[in-house]
Symmetry: none
Subunit: 401 residues, 2 copies
C-alpha cells in the first residue's frame, strides 16, 4: 500500500490545526563566515521554539537529487515525487497563474527562429527576445481558432509562452516538437496512444496556423511546443487527509501547486506581513495552512547570501503572530535547498523544526543545518512530514488491530 492510500484509510477528524511554513530554498551551505544563511540569521523565535520542538534533516526526493519546485512541494504535501509527476506544460501554466480544468491540456511554448528557405531551426530561443516582444507575438497568436476547443495563449518570459487547449477528448501522451538542436525542422506532434490522436491533430493544426501568423516576423518566425500535459489529477487533501486545507502564497507557481492537491488558495498580498494577515483572518475556516515564503529562494538563486539571511530574519520576526494563533502542529522547513554559494536549487537536506504536543524533545537549541544533524527526528524524507503532522494532530487512527 502506498502512503497516500494509507493516509486515506487511517485519517480521522480532530479540531487540531496544522501549519506548514515553507521557506522556499531554505537550506544552505557555509558562506564566508563559515555559517549557512540560516545559521547566520538572528532567529530568536525559531531558536526559542527549538527548545520545545524536535528537529531533523529532510531529503526532498532521494539523496543527491535536486528537485524543481513541483517535486519539492509534492514531497512536502506527502505525494512521492517519483510516483506522482506534473508535466512541464502544467507547471508553466501554473507559474503564470493560469488555471487548468480536467479537460485542459497545457504546453510550454518557445519562440524560435526558422530559416525561411529550408524551415530548419537556426535559433531555438529566437535570440532570447524580450518579454515585451513575446507579449506582442502572443497577442497575434490569440487570433487562432480551432473548432471545438477554447484556446489560451499567455506570454511567460523572454521567448517562452504557455498554450492551453480546453475541450472534450483532449488527452496526455503526445510527443514534443522541439528537435532539441538547430539545423533540424520542428517536429510534428505525434500521438503515443489511440486516445491522444485528437490532441495531436489539434496541436498540429494550431502550429500550422501559428507558423502562418509568425512567418514574416523576425527573429521569432516559428515556435516549438514542449511538456504537453494535463493536470495530473492528484487525489485531494480532503480525500487523502480529510483536511480542509488552504494555501497562503504570494507567487502563482505555489498557488497553482496547492490547487493541484485541492487546497483553497487565499488572497495573500505580496509580503510576509500580508500573508500573516491572511492567515489570521482565515484561521477559523481551515484545518491545514500551507504558508509559503518565496524570497529565501530568490535570494539564493541570486547568490545574495545577506538577502537570504534577511528574509529568514523577517520570517522569524512574524512568528509570534503565527504562534499566537496556537497551531497544534507547526512545521518549519523548505521545499529544497538553494545555497547562495551555488546560485541554484540543490539536493542538500532541509532543516526541519517540528512543534507539537507529544513530541520527544531533543537537545537542539538553535535552528540551523548543523544543529539539526543532532535532532531527534534524524534524517527523514519530505514525504514523512505529513504523516507525522497528522499523527501529532490526533488525525490518524491505528494501523491494524
Amino acid at each position: 500500500m502506498n502512503q497516500i492510500d494509507l493516509m486515506k484509510e487511517l485519517h480521522v477528524q480532530s479540531d487540531k490545526k496544522i501549519v506548514m511554513l515553507v521557506l522556499d530554498g531554505l537550506g544552505g551551505l557555509p558562506g564566508p563566515s563559515g555559517k549557512t544563511e540560516l545559521e547566520e540569521a538572528r532567529t530568536p523565535n525559531m531558536d526559542r521554539l527549538c527548545r520545545q520542538a524536535v528537529c531533523g534533516l529532510s531529503t526532498p526526493i532521494t539523496p543527491g537529487i535536486t528537485p524543481g519546485s513541483g517535486p519539492g512541494h509534492l514531497g512536502l504535501f506527502g505525494y512521492d515525487p517519483l510516483e506522482y509527476t506534473i508535466g512541464r506544460g502544467v507547471l508553466e501554466a501554473l507559474g503564470i497563474g493560469l488555471t487548468l480544468r480536467p479537460t485542459s491540456i497545457a504546453a510550454r511554448g518557445n519562440f524560435c527562429t526558422l530559416d525561411p528557405q529550408t524551415g530548419v531551426i537556426t535559433d531555438r530561443r529566437a535570440g532570447r527576445i524580450p518579454t515585451s516582444k513575446c507579449a506582442e507575438l502572443v497577442a497575434k497568436l490569440r487570433a487562432i481558432t480551432l473548432e471545438g476547443v477554447d484556446i489560451t495563449v499567455e506570454p511567460v518570459k523572454d521567448y517562452r509562452f504557455a498554450l492551453i487547449l480546453d475541450g472534450e477528448g483532449l488527452e496526455d501522451g503526445v510527443t514534443e516538437t522541439d528537435p532539441q538542436k538547430t539545423g533540424l525542422r520542428p517536429l510534428e506532434v505525434r500521438p503515443l496512444t489511440e486516445r491522444s490522436r485528437k490532441t495531436a491533430s489539434l496541436l498540429n493544426a494550431w502550429i500550422g496556423k501559428a507558423f502562418e501568423v509568425l512567418k514574416n516576423e523576425s527573429p521569432a518566425n516559428g515556435c516549438t511546443l514542449r511538456g504537453i500535459a494535463k493536470d495530473p489529477g492528484l487525489p485531494s487533501y480532503r480525500e487523502v487527509y480529510g483536511l480542509n486545507a488552504c494555501a497562503i502564497a504570494t507567487y502563482p507557481m505555489y498557488k497553482g501547486l496547492a490547487r493541484l492537491v485541492g487546497m483553497d488558495v487565499l488572497e495573500a498580498g505580496d509580503t510576509i506581513a500580508s500573508e500573516i494577515e491572511t492567515l489570521k483572518s482565515a484561521w477559523d475556516r481551515y484545518d491545514f495552512f500551507f504558508f509559503h515564503v518565496k524570497k529565501t529562494d530568490s535570494a539564493g538563486e541570486d547568490g545574495d547570501f545577506d538577502a537570504k539571511v534577511r528574509v529568514i530574519e523577517e520570517t522569524d520576526a512574524v512568528l509570534p503572530e503565527l504562534l499566537a494563533l496556537k497551531p497544534s502542529v507547526l512545521i518549519i522547513t523548505g521545499d529544497h535547498s538553494t545555497p547562495a554559494s551555488m546560485k541554484s536549487h540543490s539536493w542538500h537536506e532541509l532543516p526541519v523544526l517540528f512543534v507539537a504536543d507529544n513530541i520527544r524533545p531533543d537537545g537542539v537549541t538553535e535552528f540551523g543545518e548543523r544543529a539539526c544533524m543532532a535532532g531527534g527526528l534524524g534524517h527523514l524524507r519530505h514525504t514523512d512530514l505529513m504523516p507525522l503532522a497528522m499523527a501529532h494532530a490526533d488525525r490518524l487512527t491505528k494501523y491494524g488491530a
Copy 2:
C-alpha cells in the same frame, strides 16, 4: 521510477572526477582494546580529511542483511542488490578470472561421492579433496565435447570447479542438480521455461559424460551443478551515469564485478602501491575510479585484528598520493563489514568518509565507526552513495521543473 532509470534521465557531463576507495570488509567490531580495527589504526590522513568531509554510516543492503561480495559491490555501484542479482555460477567464474560473453552460461560445480551401487550421494563435497586433486579431475573433464558449444572447465578451490558453456541459444532458467542432502541421487537439470530447454539438455548431456569420466575415481566419482546463470546484463556505468569508469583491483572477483557494469579493468599489479601507480597513470583517461583494497577483508576473515589494522594503515599511507590528483569527489568506505572477531562478513554498517565541494561539514574529526555515528550524512544505504557522488560532481540535473 527506480534509481537506475532516474540516473539515466538526470545525468549530465562535467569534468569532475570521482574516486570510490573501497576497503573490502572495512567495518569492524571492538577488539581486545575496546576499539574497532579502523578506530585502532593510526590514520592521520583519513582523520585530517574528516575535518573537511562529511561522514556517515551506510547499510550495504538493508539492516541485518550480510552481503556477499556481489551484492555488496552492486550496492556501492548504485544498483539495488535486491533488484539486480548475479547468479552464483557467474560469480564463481568471475572469481577465478573467467570472462563471460552474452552467449555464455556459467555454473558452479561441486565434486561429490556417489555410492557405486545405488548412485546416491554419500558425500556432497567428496571428502573436501585438495585443490590439486580438483585440478587433476578438471583436466580429465576437459575431454568432454558437445556439439555447437564451447566448454570451459576450471578448478576453483578444494572440491569446487567452474563450468561455462558458450554458444547460441543458451538461456537462464534451469534447476540445479544438487539435492542438498546425502542419500539422494543427483537431480536432472530441468528447464523452467520453453527457452531454456536447450540449455537443460546440453547440461544433462555434459553431466552424463562427466559421470562416465569420473566413474572409477575415488572419492570424487560424481559432481553436481549449482547457480546456473548468465551475465545479468546490467546497464553500464556509461548508460546509467554517463561515466567513463575504470576499476583498479588486485583480485579477479572485483575485476569481474566491475566488468559486469561496463568498467574498464586496468592492470593494477597486486599491491596497494602498484594500484596507486595505476591510478596515476590512468588519471587523465577516466571520470570514475573504483579503487579496491582486498586485504582488509582477508585479514578480517582470518580473525587477524592486527593484520586488518595494518592494511588500513597501509591504505592511509598512500592517501596523499591519491589526494595529489585532486579528485572532485572522494568516497572512502567498504562493501561490507568483516569484523576480525566474527571471522566472516557481517551486516554492520560501513563508515563513510565523503570529501567534495558543496558539503556541509560536520563535527567528525577522526575516521571510525563510532565517530561516524555523529556524521552529517547520518545513516544511508550503499545505493545512496553514487547519486550523492554524481550530485557533488555536478553530474546531475534537476528533477522536474
